[in-house]
């Protein structure tokens, strides 16, 4: 393994040298800024990680290096593929069996059960994504209209500002027990549309992530160019037209800045909430692996850490893309 990575390192250094030689200085500067420097940064990090990891001894063995984590990531994907295969087989067999029963007796009641296997790493990612997007959407639905209201009315703003300042810095871990108890007590239904664990995580995410959007929206709304407000007055725009045609478009850039911060917070909060609440998702995956304590656990947790980081990065990129579509100043 070591010789292999050394050889890879050598060949990479060689090709980098060739690349450097073929470029003229200005080209090099621009290409370097765009692709080369980040690549060098990542390679240096991997090298450091590779060298430093074996030095750290834990009760579960040495801290995993990049190679072990890569191997476990492949393993996690393989487990998911296998599980998926089994699930398909299960569904197929169930359908065949039900068809047979119905052929014998058309009035028979057939049961359709979902595949009982444990959720894989990929399934957990899906659950986490759905939860974070639901929580973030709810936060946006609350924060944007409230922010507009606060921004339009300075009295309202002054009245509510202390509350915002107090609730904004609260950690998700502090909210979680309260949310859990309230959801358990109030969401009682024989045929629940959502799982309680989903609701608990989602509401916690909402509570922690709505503040940046709320604050930025109200600041953006309060900062509309006074000339444009005068135009609106001269035109005698109705309240709703004023909000729709002047206030909202004018504050879209600020709102999006808030939304991006909110989404970042939502994703961080969600992992913590899932870990503590044992609700399905990436957080639970990490916690389960920690409890499992096998020799591969640390590698698998590290793979999850990287996945969490990468997904957070992608979420922000998606928001940036939407912002570029929607905002007029981009």
């Amino acid at each position: 393994m070591t010789t292999l990575s050394v050889r890879i390192g050598e060949s990479m250094a060689g090709s980098t040298r060739k690349l450097l030689a073929s470029l003229s200085p200005p080209q090099l500067a621009s290409a370097g800024k765009q692709a080369l420097l980040p690549l060098i940064g990542i390679l240096l990090f991997l090298g450091f990680w590779h060298l430093a990891a074996p030095q750290v001894q834990t009760s579960l063995g040495a801290f995993p290096g990049p190679a072990q984590v890569w191997e476990q990531a492949g393993q996690l994907w393989q487990e998911h593929a296998n599980q998926r295969q089994r699930a398909d087989k299960f569904v197929l067999m169930q359908e065949e069996r039900n068809a047979r029963i119905l052929a014998d007796n058309p009035d028979a009641e057939v049961r359709i059960r979902s595949y009982p296997g444990a959720p894989t790493f990929i399934d957990q990612i899906g659950t986490s994504l759905v939860t974070v997007l639901a929580g973030f959407a709810l936060a946006t639905l609350i924060a944007v209209p409230l922010g507009i209201l606060f921004g339009l009315n300075p009295y309202f703003q002054a009245a509510v500002n202390p509350l915002i300042q107090i609730f904004k810095p609260v950690s998700p871990l502090a909210w979680l027990p309260l949310v859990t108890m309230v959801v358990s007590a109030t969401y009682v239904s024989d045929d629940p549309m959502f799982q309680k664990s989903f609701l608990t995580s989602m509401i916690t995410v909402t509570l922690c992530s709505l503040w940046p959007t709320l604050i930025n929206t109200s600041v953006g709304v309060a900062a509309v160019n006074p000339d444009l407000l005068n135009v609106s007055k001269v035109l005698k725009l109705s309240f709703w037209t004023h909000v729709r045609k002047v206030v909202l478009p004018s504050s879209v850039p600020m709102i999006f800045t808030g939304l991006r911060v909110s989404l970042g917070i939502a994703w961080m909060v969600l992992i913590a909430a899932e870990m503590l609440a044992q609700s399905p998702g990436l957080g639970k995956f990490v916690w389960d692996e920690f409890q499992n304590g096998s020799s591969q656990s640390l590698s698998r947790i590290m793979a999850a850490v990287l996945a969490i980081g990468f997904i957070g990065f992608l979420l922000d990129r998606v928001m940036l893309l939407i912002q570029k579509k929607v905002a007029w100043n981009e």
Partner: protein
């Protein structure tokens, strides 16, 4: 011309400040006839913008009032369209959409969709901006944006067009070009216009009448000068015209001899303080 079109009577404007009320305007009386082009000129801080904002309805006079065609003005409305100094176009709308916002609001009921469309295009053509209809304000020059601002105001078919230093932020060449356009448009539409300006040449060239305001605080109408020059006017030909030179001389002497600003430090500071007032905001007390 028995009854005036627009009439300001005994207008006083006081702003509340931390150190008590600040009287910006006092006893402003002004009668303006239909189709007149009136310039308001005066040093900064003399309350020109306050007068304009009172006519626009954006500010309420503390005493006295403004009557347009027999109706008292107490709120803003499209019949008193305003052209702002910095165009005040919505940066997220295209040139066409900016005019459309105004046209749809004012003529929603009285014009069909097609009529509105033609009317918007007509007004953009009037200011020579039809070619940039689909551009955003950020993509065109300041002079072009100001043209669009004028088109938007004209498209409201206002009975009075109010212009707050419309060319103040433009370079000299662009300004001259826009002044000529404005004269052509005025010739064609015969609008009543009230324009604020700092520029003596601009005032004499464009106006039928120049209202010169005394220095604030408690500013009022100082002199009222009728400019009797034939239209269309040509800036190059007028430069040598004896009457033009005399009118120009009169305004200059009002501004720099009769109403000369005392250039001591305290008044200069007060000039700055009351310049803020022209933006319609609260003013700090001016030291006497």
């Amino acid at each position: 011309m028995a009854k005036s079109h627009l009439e300001l009577t005994g207008v006083e404007m006081a702003f509340d400040t931390a150190k008590g009320p600040f009287i910006a305007l006092e006893n402003v009386d002004l009668k303006i006839q239909k189709g007149e082009f009136v310039s308001l000129i005066g040093h900064s801080g003399c309350g020109k913008s306050t007068v304009l904002n009172i006519v626009a309805g954006l500010l309420q006079a503390s005493k006295g009032g403004c009557v347009l065609d027999g109706h008292e003005v107490n709120s803003p409305g499209p019949e008193r369209a305003v052209v702002f100094q910095n165009h005040a176009l919505m940066p997220w709308l295209t040139v066409y959409e900016n005019v459309e916002l105004a046209v749809r609001q004012v003529f929603r009921k009285s014009m069909s969709r097609q009529e509105r469309k033609d009317w918007i295009t007509h007004n953009l053509e009037l200011v020579n901006m039809a070619h940039a209809a689909n551009k955003r304000p950020g993509e065109i020059s300041g002079g072009m944006a100001q043209r669009v601002g004028i088109a938007r105001a004209l498209a409201m078919k206002p009975s009075v067009l109010l212009m707050d230093e419309p060319f103040g932020a433009l370079d000299a060449l662009t300004r001259a070009h826009l002044q000529d356009s404005l004269m052509d448009i005025q010739q064609e539409l015969n609008n009543t216009v009230i324009m604020i300006t700092h520029d003596v040449d601009e005032a004499v060239l464009l106006s039928d009448r120049i209202i010169m305001m005394t220095n604030g605080p408690a500013a009022t109408v100082g002199e009222d000068l009728y400019i009797d020059l034939p239209r269309p006017r040509n800036r190059v030909a007028l430069a040598d015209d004896a009457r033009y030179v005399r009118y120009r001389q009169e305004v200059l002497s009002f501004l720099y001899e009769k109403q000369r600003k005392l250039e001591s430090l305290s008044t200069r500071r007060s000039g700055k303080a009351s310049a803020q007032e022209s933006g319609g905001q609260a003013v700090k007390q001016v030291s006497a």
